[in-house]
């Protein structure tokens, strides 16, 4: 498949939303409290809605979601990371929603092809970020156990955060400025939550930008196997 520049960008952003939505969907029936069953499913649905719009800009949403193999997916390695405990899920949400909000706020203010989607999505993402922040504060500044778990989580996922600021062809953003704003925002939340702001490398499991090149972490293939199995078992069927 030869991609035009904006198709590639639509795929990258669409894959981020699709994959994170899937991970959040795995929480259904397992959340620590009923209100979180509602909240996590709600965020998953928002992201799936974004994914469907973005993938449809790049082609047929189901063909793209269900018939590409691991090496053809363009999502960030961050969003494919397993849910882990609730702290890991929240840390992943904090990192990603902060990024997504900065990016969509910028895209919404322009007149590019992503502007209409971003204008709608930025409202959803503001809610996601607020949810992640509130939980980061509760877990960080909660009990000794929750602080310890949250510190482990923010540390463990930190190395996947550099990838978000690798320039994406077709998306006109000052990536360095966005990275600075992200570091400030996330650092501020972590400090308010009495957590340690990680200092390690942020280059991902391979190199920064690896997920965008179709180089993923090992759990991702298994996730796709589950997601795609039924669709692939009935070629050409409609549902």
């Amino acid at each position: 498949m030869t991609l035009t520049v904006n198709t590639a960008a639509a795929l990258a952003l669409g894959d981020d939303a699709l994959v994170l939505s899937h991970r959040l969907g795995e929480w259904a029936g397992h959340a620590p409290v009923l209100e979180e069953e509602v909240a996590l499913a709600n965020i998953a649905l928002d992201l799936l809605g974004q994914a469907r719009v973005l993938l449809s800009m790049a082609g047929d949403e189901d063909e793209l979601a269900y018939l590409r193999e691991e090496r053809a997916f363009r999502n960030l390695q961050l969003v494919e990371q397993p849910n882990g405990d609730f702290a890991h899920t929240i840390a992943r949400q904090l990192y990603f929603s902060t990024y997504q909000r900065l990016l969509y706020a910028h895209l919404a203010s322009g007149d590019g092809e992503f502007a209409p989607l971003a204008a709608k999505a930025v409202k959803e993402v503001a809610y996601h970020q607020d949810h992640a922040e509130q939980w980061t504060l509760r877990l960080g500044d909660g009990t000794d156990e929750s602080r310890a778990r949250m510190n482990v989580a923010v540390q463990a996922l930190w190395r996947f955060t550099g990838e978000m600021f690798q320039p994406l062809d077709g998306v006109d953003v000052d990536w360095d400025a966005m990275q600075t704003a992200w570091l400030e925002s996330v650092g501020d939340v972590l400090r308010r939550a009495t957590l340690t702001v990680p200092e390690g490398p942020r280059t991902g499991a391979w190199t920064a930008g690896a997920g965008r090149q179709g180089l993923h972490t090992e759990s991702f293939g298994r996730m796709l196997a589950e997601m795609q199995h039924l669709h692939r078992s009935h070629p050409g069927a409609s549902w």
Binding site: H30, A41, E226, L230, S238
Partner: protein, 350 residues
């Protein structure tokens, strides 16, 4: 207190008089309650109600809430495998709604003087039940459609009359729940229709699911009328409006033409229209299976309850963190308000 004691009290004095007064007051309350129920008025949380009415409602509403929560599991089982993004979105929204229904219903139960924690504890320890239907496994994607059509269909048949239940908070919760359930039911039907009209393999998948879910759905209406222990009292109190068998018949009458429209058959050789009764006759339900599942021996009882307990236990540290944070925050807020107060006071003095 007996009438004799009350009679004695009228003539002999102080301590007995209060007994008589209590009895008379009790009778007066009872009369007001009975009149309200007879007049189809709503009983509200602050109204007096017989203890047995309260206990019966707590039992029923709790069981209903638990069913929403346990009922998330068989469907959530397919979220990660849904075959198209549209179906995945529909299923996620549905499971989310179920959690929301659980929340409404626990709130309704709490108006009767219990708490969600207490009820969840009873669910986890097996002292309160949930609908027997959720002890059956979802083995194929078509089960998601069959649950939407049959299980939600049966639930709606049960719940629509509950919108007129004598207890206000429960009736109002049912209005909201039924609106969303009807939507889910239509989506389930539509998902099955797509399968039925799809490839041969899809059609077979749909038929197999309907074959497996039909009888358990009929069991959702509960035991036959002559074996239902709660029905007579619940109907007298206008908690229930129709008997189990009446509702079951209503459901069969609605489902048969829908199955025909779907192009699927129902697994009952005795199912046929009875001109004389103006209803469908249907075959005998396997009540042994029903009681067995209710006793905890169904295919998924153990798994459903373990999963629920596990989620609760795994989440304990999160709930503790939220409580600890709220406690600290409350103190902070209190201080902030005091400072603000002092500040204003200071300004006023200056």
């Amino acid at each position: 207190m007996t009438a004799v004691t009350a009679g004695t009290a009228e003539t002999t004095g102080a301590p007995g008089v209060s007994d008589a007064a209590v009895a008379a007051e009790q009778a007066a309350y009872e009369a007001v309650f009975d009149a309200a129920v007879a007049a189809d008025e709503r009983i509200e949380p602050r109204d007096w109600m017989p203890e047995a009415y309260r206990a019966s409602l707590v039992r029923q509403i709790a069981q209903h809430a638990h069913s929403e929560i346990i009922g998330m599991q068989p469907e959530a089982n397919w979220i990660t495998r849904a075959p198209s993004l549209r179906r995945k979105a529909i299923l996620m929204a549905k499971v989310q709604d179920e959690a929301g229904h659980g929340l409404y219903l626990y709130s309704a139960a709490e108006t009767l003087g219990t708490s969600r924690d207490e009820l969840l504890d009873k669910l986890h320890s097996g002292r309160q039940k949930y609908s027997s239907i959720f002890n059956y496994p979802t083995l194929t994607w078509a089960d998601v459609g069959a649950i939407g059509w049959l299980v939600d269909g049966a639930a709606i048949t049960n719940q629509v009359p509950l919108c007129r239940c004598s207890y206000g908070p429960y009736a109002r919760a049912m209005v909201r729940v039924c609106k969303e359930e009807s939507f889910h039911q239509r989506q389930g039907y539509e998902a099955l229709l797509a399968l039925s009209r799809g490839t041969e393999a899809q059609h077979a998948m749909a038929q197999d699911a309907v074959d497996r879910w039909w009888w358990p759905s009929l069991m959702m209406f509960g035991p036959p009328d002559d074996e239902s222990t709660h029905t007579a009292q619940a109907m007298a109190w206008k908690i229930k409006r129709h008997s189990n068998d009446e509702l079951r018949q209503r459901f069969v009458d609605i489902a048969v033409p829908q199955a025909e429209a779907l192009g699927l058959t129902l697994p009952d050789p005795d199912l046929r229209w009875n001109e004389e009764r103006g209803h469908y006759d249907f075959g005998a339900i396997d009540w042994d299976e029903f009681w067995d599942v209710l006793k905890g021996n169904g295919p998924c009882n153990e798994q459903r309850l373990s999963r629920r307990r596990q989620a609760h236990e795994d989440g304990a540290w999160v709930r503790e963190a939220a409580a600890a944070h709220a406690q600290k925050h409350r103190v902070d807020k209190h201080h902030a308000e005091q400072h603000q107060h002092t500040g204003k006071h200071g300004e006023a003095q200056a």
